[in-house]
Each structure stands twice: as C-alpha cells, then as structure tokens.
C-alpha cells in the first residue's frame, strides 16, 4: 500500500542548532512574545518566531537564506521575554556562522559585508579602525556616496580617526584569527 506522503521527523538540523546555540528550540510553543518585542519585526521575513518553526521542520536552506538572521541586531529582547528561556539572538549567531560557512550569498549581503569589513581591520591592527571599515564596506557594496555628508561632518568635528591605532602585540590577534578560522565547522 502506498503510504502517501513520506513524512519523517527532520531532527538533524534542529539538534545541531540546539547543541551549538545552547537554546532549547524544541520548547518553543509559538506564543510569539519574541516577535512582539522584536524591534526589527517590521523588516524581517520571516518573523523570528517563524524561523524557529522552520528549524523544527528542518528547512535548513530557507532558514540560512532568510533575511531574518541578518536583520537581528542581537538586542536580546526576545531572550528576556520568552517564557521558555529561548534567546533567539544566540540562535541567529549560529545561523549566520553557518550561512557564511555555506559559501552562499547572504540573505542581507550588506550586513555580512559590514561585519567582515569591521573584523578585517581588527585582524590587521588589533583595534577597529572606522575609516578603514567604512572604506572596505564601500568597496564591497559599491555604495560610495551613502553618508558622505555625515562623514565630512565627522572629519570636521575630529570624530573620525584618519590613522589606525595599532596594538603592540598584534601578532597575538593574528593568531587568534587563525584559530578562529580553524574552529569554524
């Protein structure tokens, strides 16, 4: 007899996320307090609570390709309000790491480009370097005129350092970054 739809529980993705984030996704009962409090709900597609549903369904590709994980600011309002102690920001941290490791285009390439530009300056100098971050970010996203007027105001008010701060033991930071690359699963 044909069994109709071949439905099997898709636990592998769920278990991986729970293990890596330390968050009990399985406990989510969709009360949606997290989405109600999330400042970025208005732009997220899907909402943060729906992302958890998709994780339970094993929809790995849709989850990793969503813009939700890149629009999450990490404000932890969801974690403070969830009756089941689920901090979605920690789940999104893991999902972004997986999305980058997959090599596919990020759901919000601009956010990914910004994070990477910032970290590139930290790897180089040991401290972040705003002018460098902005330069790299503009190269990656080809957005040369965005915030130009604001940037000039910053320079006029001496708010933007035009030369980087460099730490003495910068070699230690380079080794930390090397280890970090090895540690990515």
């Amino acid at each position: 007899m044909a069994t109709g739809a071949n439905i099997a529980p898709a636990l592998a993705f769920l278990e991986e996320i729970e293990a890596r984030s330390g968050q009990p996704v399985s406990l989510c009962y969709q009360c949606k307090k997290c989405a109600g409090g999330c400042p970025m709900s208005f732009a997220m597609q899907p909402y943060n609570c729906d992302l958890l549903k998709m994780i339970k369904y094993g929809e790995k590709e849709a989850v990793l390709g969503s813009n939700t994980i890149w629009l999450c600011i990490g404000c932890r309002t969801c974690g403070a309000r969830c009756p089941n102690g689920i901090d979605i920001s920690k789940i999104n941290d893991v999902l972004r790491e997986m999305a980058l490791a997959s090599g596919k285009k990020a759901g919000e390439p601009r956010t990914a480009a910004f994070h990477q530009s910032f970290l590139a300056t930290v790897e180089q100098f040991g401290r972040s370097y705003e002018a460098g971050t902005i330069g790299l970010f503009k190269l990656k996203t080809a957005s040369f005129t965005q915030d130009l007027a604001l940037g000039l105001k910053f320079v006029a008010k001496n708010k933007l350092k035009l030369l980087p701060d460099r730490i003495k033991r910068a070699g230690e930071i380079k080794r930390i970054f090397r280890k970090a690359r090895e540690a990515v699963i």
């Binding site: 404000c75 941290d93 933007l160």
Partner: protein, 288 residues
C-alpha cells in the same frame, strides 16, 4: 577605589567626549583609573554575529591582561561591557567552548583567564548609594529644570543572568544619578528598546525608523534631551534623526555629570555633538 580602564575603540575615536568625561568624573569622585595596557578590540557585535570563537577570544585576551593588572575592569561602552561580561560569565560557568578557547589563549599568550576580577560598567560603579551621596555633594551647577529621559539601550541590561546589575527592561541606575544632579527625569517606556546602532551602516533605513520612534517618544514624554550610556547608541541617535522635524540632543550621562560638577572641559566634549546641545543647556544657565 582603583580600577583598570578599558576604553574600547569607540572612546578612542567617535566618542572621545565620553572618554574624557568618564575620566573627569571618576577623578572628581576619587575613582582611580589606569588604562589597560595593549588592549585590543572586543570584537563588538561583528564578532558574535559571525564567529563564536572570535566573540569569546577577543574579549578574553583583554580579561587576561586585566587580571594581570590586578583590579576590576571598567568598560564604558555597552557593547564592550557586554562582550567582556559574557566571556567572563562563560568562564565562571565552565562553559565547554569557553574552556577550550581559554586553553588556546594560554598557548598564544602564556596565561589564561582565571575569573578572579569583575567586569563593571561606569553606571554600576557610580550608581551605588555611597557614590550617589558623593555625587550630590560635588554638584556646583544643579541641572534644575532640565527635562531628560534615560536611554540604556539593549546591551547594558541583557541577558539578565549575565550582566545583572539592573532590571533588564526597567533599569533605574542612570535615573538616580541624573536626579542627584538636580535634573528632572521623565518616565517613558523605551529605556531598553534597541536603537539598531550595530546595523547603522548596513541597514540605514530600518535603523532610521528605530531612531525616529525613540526620539518621537522622548519628545512625547516631555524630555528636552535623551541621555545615553553607550557610544554606539549616542552616535546612532545623534546622527540618524533625519526623519525628525526638531532634532533632540543626545548626552552621555558623564557629560551631564561633568556639567553639574562645573568641568571647564565640558564645552569641548559638547562641541563634538552633531546635534548641538548648547540651546538646551543655555536655558539652564539662565535659570529658565
């Protein structure tokens, strides 16, 4: 009191006024600060957003250096405070990944973090009852008549089991400090709503919407200015009010402490603001 000072990258660039005013206020109140030698960037939201190893290892290197210096470490940036505190908490809780990273750092630096010091934010240091008494005693120019709302943002008070110095959604430490300076602190519901600072460059339009909401609500609460304790919030709120008809100045709480203490340098700090706070303070000078 002696503390190790971790300024973080922002206080060395966009938030120089926060740096200066924090140091001034601490000096005035007898809190001795010594800057952490050879500190590195904590990785901010960019590390935890993309790489767990960096999110723990970058702050942990600073904790190791601070532990060697022997005092509690104070970080005025809410993002730095949060990442340092999170790494410290992970080591205290014997988190498996944190232990591995700690061992890796021992290999790289020749020392590991033993969690024998505390990570503190200036609000926590300056908000104790003893300090509040000292603060009132130092006021030479009370902020009488100045109507403010306090804005803590997201990273200072959450997650509540990690940072735990004030209520995660209705904190009051900054309110007490500003009240001690003589200001009128208005009540509002947006103290810990996120301003989106971490995504200000990459999601500019969405972030402008968050900022507009905060400023509109502050105005509705009857405030003349918003007071912040984070360089990412302050810069974001100070620069993204383009949707607002009457932009509102954004102070650091330490700047207002400096003003009330009669700091000569306060003019220099305030000149760095994009939205000029002088008109709000001018009314104060005239006793209006």
């Amino acid at each position: 009191m002696k503390l190790t000072y971790y300024p973080g990258c922002s206080l060395h660039s966009t938030a120089a006024g926060y740096d200066d005013s924090t140091c001034f206020v601490c000096r005035t109140l007898g809190v001795e600060l010594a800057e952490l030698n050879d500190w590195n960037c904590c990785g901010a939201s960019c590390a935890h957003a993309t790489n767990h190893f960096l999110a723990v290892a970058l702050p942990m290197r600073n904790l190791i250096l601070a532990e060697q210096a022997g005092h509690d470490v104070m970080a005025p940036c809410a993002a730095c405070y949060n990442t340092l505190k999170t790494a410290d908490h992970a080591v205290r809780g014997r988190d498996g990944q944190a232990m591995t990273i700690n061992a890796d750092l021992e290999e790289i630096m020749g020392a590991k973090y033993g969690a024998t010091i505390q990570v503190r934010h200036p609000l926590e240091v300056l908000g104790s009852w003893e300090m509040l008494r000292e603060i009132s005693a130092k006021v030479v120019r009370p902020l009488m008549g100045l109507r403010l709302v306090t804005y803590y943002g997201c990273l200072l008070t959450r997650p509540k089991n990690v940072v735990a110095f004030d209520n995660p959604e209705r904190p009051t430490t900054m309110d007490k400090i500003l009240t001690a300076l003589g200001a009128e602190v208005k009540s509002w519901s947006y103290k810990t709503d996120c301003c989106g600072g971490a995504l200000a460059l990459s999601q500019t339009a969405a972030v402008a919407t968050l900022v507009a909401k905060l400023v509109t609500e502050a105005e509705r609460a009857g405030a003349q200015a918003i007071v912040s304790a984070c360089p990412l919030c302050q810069v974001n709120l100070d620069t993204r009010q383009n949707q607002i008809a009457r932009p509102m100045p954004i102070f650091y709480f330490t700047e207002l402490m400096g003003v009330a203490f009669g700091a000569d340098a306060s003019g220099r700090w305030l000149q760095k603001h994009i939205i000029d706070p002088a008109p709000v303070l001018a009314a104060l000078a005239k006793g209006e």
